[in-house]
């Protein structure tokens, strides 16, 4: 018999999770051996993966601070995972006290962890929802109670869209979320790509295969394909670039070569 719609999938911590692998790459211990095993296998082919994650976090930090500087006080972080430090609400509040943040993840463990971390925080919440079902996100009580969609929101899609296959139409999902945002909102986005990887393509492909093996397909998209997510947005300078080149605060030449793979960008709705 088919699982009824309202009954969630059971939680099987014997299969790797993107959130926990990400945490491992960032030096955290919010992970299990299956996650670490998967991460280590991926690193066999592209040892600099942690640097890519770190670059993502650093970009997000700069982008959030920039958005706060632009007067944005509401943040919607979809695919938030289990970050140990440097979370959006910390960065945002450092720049703009009282900023409100809603985290969204479809991993129930990540959501549960996030709820524990944010317990008692009245200006931040966590939603268990899937990027591919924007109405679940927009209709959630957290979004409705914490965010005023009539005012600009920073929508963060950092290191998430490359886990959404074309079959699930990530473009439509992004468009639907965009549709709900007030003018002046911004989209903060990073995406994995074969472009900029400092190792031979075969090695990256082998890494992608590891993700495929653990049934967490990693979709590498070209620059043009990534740019399409910004349909309806005006790109903020310097446009869609490798992460270290987006409004760097230190000399990008000091960055690890792995940090330059993939693309980052911020767009603003008219």
């Amino acid at each position: 018999m088919e699982r009824p719609a309202w009954a969630p999938r059971s939680i099987d911590i014997s299969v790797p999770s993107v959130s926990r692998i990400y945490d491992y790459f960032l030096g955290g211990s919010h992970n299990f051996e299956v996650d670490r095993e998967a991460a280590r296998r991926a690193m066999e082919f592209t040892p600099g993966l942690p640097k890519i994650m770190q670059a993502n976090r650093a970009f997000m930090r700069r982008a959030v601070r920039w958005a706060a500087g632009e007067g944005i006080t509401q943040f919607l972080d979809v695919g938030s995972g289990i970050p140990t430090f440097g979370n959006v609400h910390e960065v945002a509040r450092a720049a703009s006290p009282g900023a409100r943040v809603v985290y969204v993840d479809h991993d129930p463990v990540a959501v549960s962890h996030g709820q524990a971390v944010l317990e008692g925080d009245e200006d931040a919440g966590v939603v268990a929802a899937d990027l591919c079902k924007p109405q679940e996100i927009l209709g959630s009580s957290e979004v409705r109670s914490l965010l005023d969609l009539d005012r600009p929101v920073a929508l963060l899609l950092v290191a998430i869209l490359h886990f959404v296959e074309d079959a699930d139409d990530p473009y439509a999902a992004v468009a639907e979320l965009t549709e709900a945002l007030a003018p002046g909102s911004v989209l903060v986005l990073t995406h994995a790509s074969y472009e900029g990887m400092p190792v031979a393509r075969e090695q990256t492909e082998a890494m992608v295969d590891v993700y495929e093996d653990i049934r967490l397909p990693l979709i590498m998209r070209t620059r043009d394909e990534v740019a399409r997510f910004f349909e309806g947005y005006d790109m903020v300078e310097p446009g869609l670039v490798p992460m270290p080149r987006w409004r760097p605060e230190t000399d990008p030449r000091d960055e690890d070569p792995y940090a330059f793979c993939g693309f980052a960008g911020v767009g603003r709705t008219a």
Binding site: H30, F32, R57, A58, I82, T84, F85, V109, E249
Partner: protein, 710 residues
């Protein structure tokens, strides 16, 4: 800004070197300068610990812990930090102290840092492991709760459903049933427990019921749906609309059977009741025509060994009772009769029904129905012997019974019933209070007679009659002199019927008057048409038959005159044929209209002459101008040589007729020899197949033309 190369500036330089060494192996999202700022307090504490009088291991441990705090969780970060302290702490922060002591102090600080780092990392790791494990547990709890809620919902649906739901394993052992099902069966859950589906057989199970069940539990069928009866413990029957589905596990292996059942007992009872009402007579409670026909058809559709006997009863004089005593009394009588009849047919295979009015049927079936039906009819007659007491009156009930007996497969129900009906009428015609046995030949006659009689009026309205014309040919020159109009009936079922089939019936019912008038109208109109087309050839005359009934009809003369006038046809064009028998013993009253017609110039022919023992002497008294010799006289002339007696008779009649100034027409001329003979004998005109069979008016026109040109 610190003084260049002052202690503060040197401390910063140390921090810069330290941050540069460690930053690449951290996973912080801070920039390197920010990271340096984060390290600065630790650097300061190291300097203080280096220069303090007494060694303080806690400071070293705190600096190690601060590294973990700054997310330098990669042990390589510690290694690089210690390298840095080892190489640069004394250099940048040692000031002018004794180098050896400072170096010793620095290395002790490193030990403390390592210990502090290890402990902090251990605690952080454990805390994070604990946190993620808790998160996983909580998430599982949420899932379990959701599942529990979902199961609770299912249970609510299961328990609250109005339809009965039950699950059993594939061996038929009942595993779980809901309240609705228990209520339907009227048993407790304990009683239900341990029951097996296969126990629930019922005599009314459809033949395929258990075949479907077996297919399902063998996994050959996903579900089936049927109506099924179950016994309740109290002996009553539960009727259900049952759907059974096969439940498979995730691998597709059959696991359970799921039954959904709807209690249809009430609905079924209602249906039965409606069916009863639709198949029973409200007054007497007897089966009605519908049910009787169903039963009869079933019997007739059975194998050939199946016999049936049917008594069709119609009460004699019931109408009189109804008219004189009222319908209420009539109804009481019918109820009493129904009761008595029912007591006559109590054996299995017997039934009594009321077809309507005072018509009842009793049916017996079996193999020996020939004797049984006689006995049944006798029983019925005996049952009616005792008078019926109604409103203080003793009414004698009599009935006419038609009996049909036969085997299945010979006739359909409608035919059997019609035969019984006809036979009953025979019994009634024979005086009533008796029974008659159906006789196929008598039936066949009666069926048509009966049927045609009732169909006649409508047939005239619907224009089912038409007229054919048979030419009358002059024997002297072979020219067409006229034609006899012969009415036909195009019957929807029986096809074309000749006048012999229906004229007597029309006579009987009086319909002959309008029918005869119609024939006369048509024929006269046709005569005019011929005349108009005939040009200068001799005008063709039309012969039309008059029945005895028409003869006595007061409007005969006026109708005839009107018809002729309306058509604009002179009376000389018409010849009315009257049978000899119709005029036997005719008095002047009867002859008066004929005389009037004859006086107008209409020819009167004496039809079928020679069959009615007519008083030849009477002939001169009749207003007749033509004798039509019956075909029996001419039959003897078909052979060669002709019968000499016939010849003599015909010769005599012709001679007699001519002496009375009557023309002679012969009928039934079928051969050339006959025609020649009759010509020699002096007959004037002839008709018969030798010339033409009766046909449509156009044919006669063609014959006349051929005659004219030939």
């Amino acid at each position: 800004m610190a003084a260049p190369d002052g202690p503060e500036d040197r401390l910063r330089r140390f921090a810069t070197i330290w941050s540069r060494a460690v930053f690449p192996v951290t996973s912080t999202s801070l920039t390197r300068p920010e990271f340096e700022e984060q390290l600065l307090p630790s650097a300061r504490r190291l300097r203080e610990a280096l220069l303090a009088r007494a060694f303080d291991a806690d400071t070293g441990r705190a600096v190690g812990a601060a590294l973990v705090e700054a997310h330098c969780t990669d042990p390589e970060a510690l290694s690089r930090a210690l390298d840095c302290v080892d190489a640069y702490l004394v250099l940048y922060c040692g000031e002018d102290g004794p180098q050896e002591e400072l170096r010793t102090r620095a290395s002790r600080l490193q030990h403390a840092m390592a210990a502090g780092y290890a402990q902090a990392l251990r605690e952080r790791t454990l805390a994070e492991q604990e946190a993620i494990a808790q998160a996983a547990l909580r998430a599982q709890g949420v899932v379990a709760q959701a599942l529990h809620a979902s199961e609770a919902r299912f249970r609510t649906v299961f328990e609250g459903a109005a339809i009965g739901i039950g699950m059993a394993d594939l061996d038929g052992n009942v595993l779980q049933v809901n309240g609705a099902l228990l209520r339907m069966f009227g048993i407790s859950e304990q009683t239900m427990h341990g029951r097996n589906v296969r126990e629930w057989t019922h005599p009314e199970d459809a033949p395929q019921t258990w075949k479907l069940y077996d297919e399902l539990v063998r996994g050959e069928r996903e579900h089936y749906h049927l109506e099924k009866a179950f016994y309740r413990p109290d002996g009553t029957v539960l009727w259900t609309n049952l759907t059974v589905s096969l439940l498979r596990d995730a691998d597709g292996e059959p696991q359970y059977q799921l039954a959904l059942m709807e209690d249809t007992t009430e609905r079924r009872l209602l249906n039965l009741r409606l069916r009863y009402e639709a198949t029973h007579d409200a007054l007497t409670g007897l089966p009605n025509r519908t049910l009787f026909f169903e039963r009869l058809e079933k019997v007739l559709g059975a194998g050939e060994k199946q016999g049936f006997g049917l008594c069709y009863l119609d009460l004699d004089g019931f109408k009189t009772i109804n008219d004189s005593l009222g319908h209420a009394a009539g109804d009481q009588l019918l109820v009493e009769v129904a009761d008595r009849l029912q007591s006559c047919a109590t054996a299995p295979g017997e039934m009594v029904a009321r077809l309507g009015g005072d018509e009842f049927v009793a049916l017996t079936t079996g193999t020996e129905t020939r004797d049984e039906v006689d006995e049944l009819a006798t029983r019925i007659q005996n049952a009616l012997v005792a008078p019926v007491r109604i409103d203080g009156r003793e009414l004698t009930v009599r009935g006419s019974i038609g009996i049909v007996e036969g085997r299945a497969g010979e006739h359909n129900a409608a035919e059997v019933l019609r035969s019984a009906d006809i036979t009953m009428y025979r019994a009634k015609s024979a005086g009533g209070n008796r029974f008659e046995l159906a006789d196929p030949e008598a039936d066949a006659r009666a069926i048509t007679r009966h049927g045609l009689t009732t169909a006649l009026p409508a047939a005239l309205e619907r224009g089912e009659f038409f007229i054919e014309y048979q030419p009358l040919v002059h024997l002297g020159d072979g020219s067409v002199r006229g034609a006899e109009a012969l009415v036909r009936w195009l019957h929807p079922q029986h096809g074309v019927l000749g006048p012999d089939r229906f004229i007597p019936l029309a006579e009987h019912t009086g319909l002959i008057v309008p029918l005869g008038r119609w024939v006369l109208e048509q024929s006269v109109r046709q005569a005019r048409a011929w005349r108009e087309r005939g040009g200068d050839t001799d005008p063709v005359r039309i012969n039309v038959n008059l029945s005895p009934c028409q003869l006595t009809h007061p409007g005969l003369v006026q109708d005839t005159v009107d018809i002729l006038e309306r058509a604009g046809v002179e009376p000389q064009a018409l010849c009315l044929e009257v049978t000899e028998s119709a005029l036997i013993g005719a008095d002047d009253d009867l002859l008066k209209p004929l005389r009037r017609l004859a006086e107008m110039g209409i020819d009167i022919a004496l039809d079928d002459f020679g069959t009615g023992y007519s008083n030849l002497a009477n002939l001169r008294r009749l207003p007749v101008s033509v004798l039509k010799l019956d075909r029996s006289f001419t039959q003897g002339m078909q052979q060669f040589p002709a019968d000499p007696v016939d010849l003599k008779i015909v010769e005599g009649i012709v001679s007699l007729a001519h002496s009375l100034d009557l023309a002679v027409t012969v009928e039934g001329v079928e051969t050339g020899a006959q025609a020649e003979q009759l010509r020699i004998l002096g007959c004037d005109t002839a008709q018969g197949w030798y010339y033409a069979r009766p046909g449509p008016p156009e044919r006669l026109h063609e014959l006349a033309l051929a005659d004219a040109t030939g």
